[in-house]
């Protein structure tokens, strides 16, 4: 379970997250939606302690992230898949993280196999395509067999087979009783995957509702999303472009 409790994050002049509260329950896939710059990534980074909140807090299983003894065994996060050391192999990247959290070494080969990177395990990350980096990011998230998963735009760069695979993976993880929070801009995909939706705009909560009920208003998730966020988006394309 993840609790976001009156979370606010201000940068010098911009407010990225503004007094945001919601709870992510186990046993279902929660879709995290919002226009560009809404504050989704900021919120997810705050959960794993990579953003110090201006005020408020984020809790995992009732605890601040920093109090977890071996956090990767409880929380798996895919936030920025490109954040790899170019000179290190996929296997070495995972091995370090595993050693750091006393995860058995054999998990490294297991997750490499799960995400389909066994053949690239000993290649240096600088040669990875976006989709391969994304797969390694997923392997990192799954490494500690965590009960909570945070996936920030996991579909980026994945091929159709990969997209279908992730859909099944997320549904399977939720069915096992895990907590899954996933952000995405792909409405069709979210309509297929999410049981519950949290929608934010300009750092504020706009909706926290079962996916079915959200879609029922208009018949399509995309339409419902665009109407709800019409006044809460900073980055709409110009009229001509639309």
């Amino acid at each position: 379970m993840i609790e976001i409790d009156r979370l606010t994050k201000r940068h010098r002049t911009r407010t990225a997250v503004d007094d945001l509260s919601f709870t992510v329950e186990p046993g279902r896939v929660t879709g995290f939606l919002g226009p560009n710059g809404a504050g989704k990534s900021t919120t997810m980074r705050a959960v794993i302690g990579l953003e110090r909140p201006t005020s408020g807090r984020a809790l995992v299983h009732g605890l601040p992230y920093a109090e977890l003894r071996h956090p990767l065994r409880q929380v798996g996060a895919l936030l920025d898949a490109r954040a790899l050391h170019g000179g290190r192999t996929a296997r070495a990247h995972l091995l370090g993280l595993a050693r750091g959290n006393r995860i058995p070494d054999r998990r490294v080969d297991e997750v490499l196999d799960t995400v389909g990177l066994t053949g690239a395990a000993d290649r240096r990350a600088k040669g990875f395509s976006l989709g391969m980096a994304q797969r390694l990011g997923l392997a990192t998230a799954l490494l500690g067999d965590p009960s909570v998963l945070l996936l920030d735009e996991p579909l980026n760069g994945l091929d159709p087979e990969g997209i279908r695979w992730i859909r099944g993976l997320m549904r399977g993880l939720a069915a096992e009783g895990r907590t899954v929070l996933v952000s995405s801009h792909l409405m069709d995909e979210m309509a297929l995957t999410a049981d519950h939706l949290v929608v934010i705009g300009r750092g504020r909560l706009l909706a926290d509702t079962p996916a079915e009920r959200f879609v029922a208003r208009t018949g399509s998730l995309e339409e419902a999303f665009l109407r709800l966020t019409a006044d809460a988006s900073d980055h709409r394309a110009g009229k001509e472009a639309r």
């Binding site: 956090p71 790899l84 050391h85 000179g87 050693r99």
Partner: protein, 256 residues
């Protein structure tokens, strides 16, 4: 609570799985020994042509350790890369996700870096010493058991190690390898050297980290320094402690 041993295992795995850091350590040895060999040879021939005053001032230990100054830069680059590699690539975020307590993360990094620097410095200093003294030749060289020599050898190992850790601390505050090395390399090679030769500021310049720690690298103390071998080392240790404290505060209060 937090698992420092696991965090050290994490740091060790990160260091040994990247080639660039390993190359720094190998280069440190090669550069130091090669220069020692060259200097030794040149000195062996040049000794007879030296003036009486030159001969009186000749310190085979200090001359033999000249190569360390260049080799040391490789070790400093190693210290810098262990942290800037994480900021540059963005792996600092997955590292802190794995070890979220900043104090534990940084203690593990400093311990691992220090242990490696100490081991490498020991090998490099001993290899440099024996190479240089062999090249200088039995007529004018120093033996490891001569008065003042064990101090110079042990001190040089400490000097290189502390300077590496000092660089790690500074790099953590600045985050950029270009900026950090842009400050440290000129400081080590020019600023200290120039200031140390201007009588007016010499007394202040010897308190710079590299100058203070470097006083120990000779058999006979120099007349013009206020600092002695060990007080100089203490000054370098204080610089190192200050850099690590600043680094720790920076890590605690800045988002990665």
């Amino acid at each position: 609570m937090a698992d420092l041993r696991a965090a050290v295992a994490f740091e060790w795995t990160k260091i040994r799985t990247v080639r660039s850091t390993l190359w720094c350590l190998i280069l440190c040895l090669l550069v130091s020994v090669l220069i020692a060999l060259l200097f030794g040879w040149v000195l062996r021939g040049a000794y007879d042509d030296m003036s009486a005053e030159g001969r009186a001032r000749f310190d085979p230990v200090a001359s033999g350790f000249n190569g360390l100054r260049l080799g040391m830069i490789c070790l400093v680059v190693f210290g810098v890369l262990t942290i800037t590699g994480e900021y540059g690539s963005g792996t600092i975020r997955s590292s802190l996700a794995a070890v979220p307590r900043r104090g534990v993360f940084y203690t593990a990094k400093v311990l691992t870096c220090t242990a490696i620097a100490l081991a490498v410095s020991t090998v490099v200093v001993l290899a440099t010493f024996f190479t240089a003294q062999t090249a200088i030749g039995a007529a004018h060289n120093a033996s490891i058991t001569d008065a003042g020599v064990p101090r110079a050898v042990v001190g040089s190992v400490l000097y290189m190690t502390l300077l590496c850790v000092f660089a790690l601390g500074l790099a953590t505050v600045l985050r950029s390898p270009a900026l950090t090395l842009g400050i440290l390399v000129p400081l080590f090679f020019m600023v200290s050297e120039i200031l140390n030769n201007i009588p007016g500021v010499r007394n202040a310049a010897q308190f710079l980290p590299d100058a203070a720690g470097g006083i120990i690298m000779r058999r006979e103390p120099q007349a013009h320094t206020i600092l002695t071998a060990w007080t100089g080392m203490a000054v370098l240790a204080a610089w190192t402690l200050a850099a690590l404290t600043a680094a720790h505060l920076t890590l605690k209060h800045r988002d990665p």
